[in-house]
Amino acid sequence: MTALRNIVERRTIAVLVDNEPGVLARVIGLFSGRGYNIESLTVTEVEHEKGLSRITVVTTGTPQVLEQIKAQLDRLVPVHRVADLTQQGPNVERELALVKVAGTGDKRVEALRIAGIFDAEVVDAGLDFFIFEASHRPDKLDRFIALMKPLGMVEMSRTGVVAIARGKEGI
């Protein structure tokens, strides 16, 4: 039982907040102040008329810590709703990456070929570089990036995870 309780899990949590100044600092400060992990964090306004933003945070911890994280988030005054997408059931996670690969010759061809396998789109290109845009589950994106590294990847930018529960129910 004790052993089970100490297993570190990964969770994707969606937080609906008032889009007001300092709200992101409040959420981030909560994580750093209480020693919680942030693996990934994305935020943007989702309902302009209502002034609501959605924060998607991927975190890790023991079940007790994860429960604390949710309770602590929920008691922040501008927080409307906290949903543990991982715990609630099946969900879709996506992340977008922009990957710049420089090079010529075989490596350049191979990069384009692998990009095709991963459904990555070429958003900019020159004779000696490509910029790919890829959108996948984070682990699949990891694999794509790992393959691009030896092929001349010089820069990469990722958005962090956005997620939504499967099925017809809203948050």
Binding site: P21, G22, A25, G29, K50, E67, Q68, V77
Partner: protein
Amino acid sequence: MPATLKAVETTSADAAPAEAQAAAHQPTATHTGAEMVVKALVDQGVEVVFGYPGGAVLPIYDALFEQNRLQHILVRHEQAAVHAAEGYARSTGKVGCVLVTSGPGATNAVTGLTDALMDSIPVVCLTGQVPTHLIGNDAFQEADTTGITRPCTKHNYLVKSVADLPRILHEAFYVASTGRPGPVVVDLPKDVLQAKGGYVEKERVVHRSYRPQTEPDPAAIARVVDLLQGARRPMIYAGGGVINAGPEACRLLTELVHLTGAPVTNTLMGLGAVPGSDPQFLGMLGMHGTYEANLAMYSCDVMLNVGARFDDRVTGRLSDFSPNSTKIHIDIDPSSINKNVMVELPVVADAEAALRAILAEWKRRSAHTDRKALDAWWQQIEAWRGRDCLRYEQKGAVIKPQYAIQRLYELTAAVEREKGIETYITTEVGQHQMWAAQYFKFERPNRWMTSGGLGTMGYGLPAAMGVQIAHPDALVVDVAGEASILMNIQEMSTLAQYELPVKVFIVNNQWMGMVRQWQELLHGGRYSQSYSASLPDFVALAAAFGAHGIRCEKPEELDDKIREMIETPEPVIFDCCVAQEENCFPMIPSGAAHYEMLLGPDDKAAKPISEEGMVLV
């Protein structure tokens, strides 16, 4: 203009955001921001503001100057303003209010805000700020107040437009006082205070998202009664949440204690929630709690926690905390549940609502506890009580600190009995605080103000100031140590200005006593930097501040001098010179379990403190 007026008429039903609503209700720009601040405070029922002026808040001081509904108490340091507001809030159940300037005014308030956050005290702190166009420019007396206070407040606001000001002010009081109470900062740039706008009545302001759950789940209440009914060794453990819920919650708790026949203990924050003289009250629990309270916590089979948070000072070593009990936890803050101790039955609710529901269910069922089992349980508890863990011997020519505090309690209680003068106690932090918690018996809630969570030396004197302002005819005593009192001694000047007859009772052992005690028990007697050197002459100090000074060095003089203190109509500094090396017992050393408690100096050799214990604070 007609459009705006129309919006006013169609208010309550529409679900538009509060800002939009607030904006809609501004028919004419009639007030400056500063005037709105004063108006909002009055509308919120504020009678007293503790503050200190400065450049950024001068418009508010101007507005204060032109009215007489709000009393302003000029403190001598902003930290003291917050502690005074805390003392005011804790002794009245109202929201305490603070007004300080930008920059250093705000940063000085940080300790007080953190203190209020840790002990869940409702405080609204208004801070000045440089004008909006200068924010971020490192302007004179600029500080990132909302940034600095974000982790030490329940919530904070930077008001960027006068249109938002009335809404934010009303929201601040709502947030500070509902759910788990706490401090709220409203940062007010000077140009917003000078701009004109329309005032919005507090009734029109509804918070968008903050709706703490206060009513308990009936199914959970039924299970609480099941568990209490089936308990053979029940134990009720009540904390500051019951005090915050109000005197009615305290009355309901006492009724539940009597109905169930269960023993009850209070945390440091909860003292007064049940009458201290109640035979079922086992005293305070925790690190310096009583033997019977801690062993009953260790040995119980059903624990009902009402409004306490399983603080490390209460639980001791977690793995040995009440290992055989089924735990029920009533708390208004869901994040308190399962934070330190896993509980079987959580109840998220206001303590009063939960206690009322439990009592109703108990009476509906005509429930009763197993009398035979309970008798056996009480027999065991009486045996523990028989150890008389707070025993000490007053012998020789030196006053024992325990004796000083016990006599202070008994003589103030006598005054209360005979003359009906109510006593309120505040403390600083350290040994004297624990002795006060052990030897005072609080018959009612809101009579005991102490810095529990943060442990702020310098809390007691300003807190006593706030209490005295709320209760002008009461006897307000700050039980202090000679080291703590020097941390906010400047407030003696405030006492003089407002003729507040606070009594400062210094238990003077010339040491930072609790530090010294830990150094003795844990650090091989290396008394590094814990001696109170170069102390002032407290009697002369009292005179310098226009107060009355009393020094007492002999046990036989103590009673007369305490009476002299009580009868003095002015503020008093009482320098009580006590035995220097007395330790505070009982004590559960850090990292130890409840059953490993040390009862006195002879106990320590038998139980060396573990390595793990050494690293804890």
